[in-house]
Symmetry: C2
Subunit: 357 residues, 2 copies
Amino acid sequence: MTPFSETFPSGANGDRASGRRPTMREVAAVAGVSLSTVSRAINDDPKVDPDLAAKVRDAVAMLGYRRDVTATTLRRADRLSASIGLVFDDVANPFHATLHRGIEDVARGRGVLAFAGSSDEDGERERDLVHAFLARRVDGLVIVPAGSDHGYLLRDRDAGVALVFVDRPPGFIDADVVLSDHAGGARAATAHLLVAGHRRIGYLGDRQRIHSAAERLRGYSEALAAEGVAIDPALVRLELADSATAAAATHELLSGDDPPTAVFAGQNLITIGAIAALRARGAQHDVGLVGFDDVTLADAMDPGLTVVAQDAAGLGRTAAELLFARLDGEAGPTRTVVLPTTLIARGSGELCPAVAR
Amino acid sequence: MTPFSETFPSGANGDRASGRRPTMREVAAVAGVSLSTVSRAINDDPKVDPDLAAKVRDAVAMLGYRRDVTATTLRRADRLSASIGLVFDDVANPFHATLHRGIEDVARGRGVLAFAGSSDEDGERERDLVHAFLARRVDGLVIVPAGSDHGYLLRDRDAGVALVFVDRPPGFIDADVVLSDHAGGARAATAHLLVAGHRRIGYLGDRQRIHSAAERLRGYSEALAAEGVAIDPALVRLELADSATAAAATHELLSGDDPPTAVFAGQNLITIGAIAALRARGAQHDVGLVGFDDVTLADAMDPGLTVVAQDAAGLGRTAAELLFARLDGEAGPTRTVVLPTTLIARGSGELCPAVAR
DNA sequence: CTGAAAGCGCTTACAG
DNA sequence: CTGAAAGCGCTTACAG
């Protein structure tokens, strides 16, 4: 920006900068000590003479010096970068964003910063992201797995990269895992509807290749079996990936010969689709509904929406704690932590079956 | 993990790793060429002999070599790290998370990765985060400003760090800014209620020190003035920071002598509080309501929630585009881009004032 | 306790 | 077109 900037004709972007960051060498010159002493002082080495440390502190303040962590990482014996990488389905998805925050809260306490990226549930994008993180020397990775084979991480795990998988287990690699109790939550939701007197309970599920979706279907089935209620395949609709499909499936279920008196929606978007269908039919006060995953405004609905809520922030915090334990040198066998879900009754799950059906 | 790991007694974490990542030097040895040639081949330098390039490619594949971007950054003339830093109020906040995704989508196209962090609307945390990002040599920063003085960034801007502020303008620094048309959106919301016949329109606003909140109040005032409706201070409640406070303020407004026939809620959480209050009074079909910012399930409410929606993903994409334009060397004066909002009518904003009031 | 020197993994003038 | 050498900003044995 200054007229003299063209006196630095180095790289293509060489003239982007009109200033420079001060280096440790310059701090040493100003403080009148050696580079080694500056490094030690900045790293709070207790062996540094207090007077020299003060001189360094002054020089740092005067120059506005800030350490270059990338250079530090390159030279340190442990090669730690104080950075981690996070792979989500989508950073904008509320569940994943809350997970993100849980991880951040724990990382912040250790001065660790997080790269974040979205796989869009594509295994190849997951791997690309992971490789991009590793190229930037992250100390560890928290991954919501999209792909089904994580063998590509074996070499890096053996090189010391800490690894934690969240929400779904990884494939072909042994690593720490943090999960919600999907089956237990689905069991609780279904049992809740059974207690209200429902016997014909529809199930709307996501793609079964997704671990959590398969687990939730299992929970639904187990709860019915526990009460001796036979599973009617006509009441089960799977592979629903968005709200529109879920709404259509709901309409189909309710238009059948012997329709369900209640519906369990196996996921956020599915719940939204089910609500839309129920409202379109004016049936929201007649058909019971429990959804998996909580939603904003759930208690402002009419009736309020009963859900099974996951502790997304808790999943994130737990994942980060496992990750840092590994970085701290914990060497035991890998662990799988399962966090409980919570049923929140708000009205839609407490509707009783219509008498004259 | 191997029994021999204690033969590396270097750092505290020195025995964490049982393997090592291959270096460029090892690739050179395997390929039988010099380090320089490997570097050139990996950087797709067209001057490298195709035969040698092929040898390098093979060695890279055989060793599973991946470049260390931090070392690259240290040595490159332009010092670019292909990383940027993002500061949000809260990565878990839906508006910010969507902003995040918009930025990611543009950055991904350039092979750039993003660090993300939450300021919790605390200026000091914002600055700490920014400094932590800069210590990791980010090329640029996208900041939703929490603090009011960003002079601390002047030196870094002059050193070539690209800077874009989103959602609110920065203080004491000249930089590119991307904003929603908060005043215009609020004007449209208020005008929409005026058209429905409302003359007594309550306003529920956030803390006025927040730029967007002040702008929204301005839009409300201007719309009333344009129709010759005097502003009644008794109908305006400001400094509402959460849903509970907003609900209480709504109750107060509606319990007054000459209550409003409609309410404009100046923000997400405020809207949720207003809905809760209206429902608690059974007034949701009588009192008009428009909220600023869209919400999940808004169309599943009864009545559907009319809102003024921001284009959060568009704000993010625009911010990233401005950032990369600067990194590409664009040197012109700083720009402020204002993105329009959209009014989405769903029912609550189209209720007419009760006749006998 | 302090400093001079080596070197982390790369890129890039500089010769050839 | 290729290689040997210097050096980015740091940390860390090694002497003193």
